[in-house]
């Protein structure tokens, strides 16, 4: 009876101790960790996507769509060919993953800090990918986000990235006018590496059980600029919806311009 009581007390103490356990923290980086960044491959500079290859892959590397997704893609491609491309990226929302890697026309850059690789896209301040390389796992239930929860590790000069937790509304786009939302449960694995000293490849493996019948593999190509005039400048996509005006008090202001469906601007009417 006394032994049982001791066991019970021990269990209660353990439970109490677990409840009072420290929250997980990100420790400050050590000097060694900063120094170790110098051993990583040089991904500095500004990276432009190879758009002609994006164009070509629409024909040469169509994803293994489910029949329902394939039908939608076919309709979109036909509409585009007829000069009425459906606007799938609207209202300045991020393209998200994987479409940023697949169809962006804008530049990007990489930042290396201890335990993290951060990607910044030119198009807007909300094109950010945080890739955690500090050994953590994905959370059990990541908050769904446009770019997902990414963890990575280095295998030599290759960054291997695993991404889950992407919002179901994020498109798998094959072009700016054709794509379908992943509809949830998308899983993206990437091997990012230099193919030549100034050409970077992102080998993507995209598994999306609601819209793809098998894993789709595609390599996207980026080429590097170093000239300072190509430094990425702040982009604010919504700024395109405003005109620079002066208000009644002489203040410089942004005034909204007339928009229409999809948050896009309308061209003037032809005079008759």
């Amino acid at each position: 009876m006394r032994n049982g009581f001791v066991v019970l007390l021990t269990l209660m103490a353990a439970a109490s101790s677990a409840q009072a356990a420290e929250p997980v923290k990100n420790p400050p980086p050590t000097a060694q960790q900063w120094a170790d960044l110098a051993k990583l491959p040089d991904w500095s500079g500004v990276w432009n996507p190879k758009i002609t290859d994006q164009d070509a892959q629409v024909k040469t590397n169509m994803p293994p769509w489910t029949p329902k997704a394939a039908a939608q893609i076919a309709t979109m491609l036909a509409a585009e060919k007829a000069g009425r491309p459906p606007p799938i990226f609207v209202d300045c929302l991020p393209e998200g993953m994987p479409s940023w890697m697949l169809v962006s026309h804008n530049a990007m850059e990489f930042l290396f800090t201890p335990g993290r690789v951060t990607m910044l896209g030119e198009s807007d301040g909300n094109r950010i990918r945080r890739i955690y390389t500090d050994g953590r796992s994905h959370p059990d239930e990541p908050d769904p986000t446009f770019h997902g929860h990414s963890i990575g590790h280095w295998e030599g000069g290759t960054l291997v990235v695993d991404t889950v937790g992407v919002v179901p509304q994020a498109y798998i786009a094959i072009s700016e006018a054709a794509g379908v939302p992943n509809n949830g449960d998308i899983h993206i694995v990437e091997h990012i590496h230099l193919a030549t000293p100034d050409i970077l490849n992102d080998d993507l493996e995209i598994t999306a059980p609601h819209v793809l019948t098998t894993t789709w593999k595609t390599t996207r190509i980026y080429f590097r600029q170093r000239a300072r005039k190509f430094d990425i400048v702040e982009g604010v996509c919504l700024q395109g919806s405003f005109s620079e005006k002066v208000d009644k008090d002489g203040n410089a202001v942004f005034a909204p311009i007339s928009k229409e469906w999809g948050g896009n601007m309308t061209a003037p009417n032809a005079p008759h």
Partner: protein, 141 residues
């Protein structure tokens, strides 16, 4: 019940029309422009929006001799891409500049808009290309 098909048809027409009209603020396909045609718009810059992902300009001008000048919405790629392709920077083309623009017009004949291929400043003759698929190489000086 009789009304429903009409409403549905109107809805579809609106969607179709909207998709065909010049879309600007989003990252979108250039298929709404007729790239088999090349028009030349001569006029002056009314407004410049130096923004991502698409730089746009409102230009007041004419495409044919004898036309009354009117407003056209001109569109091109991002500021970063313009700098890379032809050195076109924020201050290269300004409000008030007289310009000659080679452009692919919108397919919708009711709307005056186009995709800029080349912009020439009338005052200096300096011109800027916009073909982002042309300069796909690293280490551009």
């Amino acid at each position: 019940m009789k009304r429903l098909p009409g409403t549905l048809a109107l809805f579809c027409t609106l969607i179709g029309l909207a998709a065909g009209i010049g879309t600007v603020a989003a990252h979108h396909s250039a298929a709404m422009f007729d790239q088999t045609k090349l028009l030349t718009l001569t006029g002056s810059v009314v407004e410049l929006r130096w923004t991502n992902p698409h730089v746009t300009m409102l230009v007041n001008g004419t495409v044919k001799d004898g036309d009354q000048p009117s407003d056209w919405l001109m569109e091109t790629t991002s500021p970063g891409n313009l700098m890379r392709v032809s050195g076109w920077g924020r201050n290269s083309v300004r409000v008030g500049d007289k310009v000659v623009i080679d452009m692919a017009p919108l397919r919708d004949p009711e709307k005056q808009g186009g995709l800029m291929k080349k912009v020439t400043l009338a005052a200096t003759g300096q011109s800027f290309d916009t073909n982002i698929r042309d300069q796909e190489k690293p280490d551009i000086e």
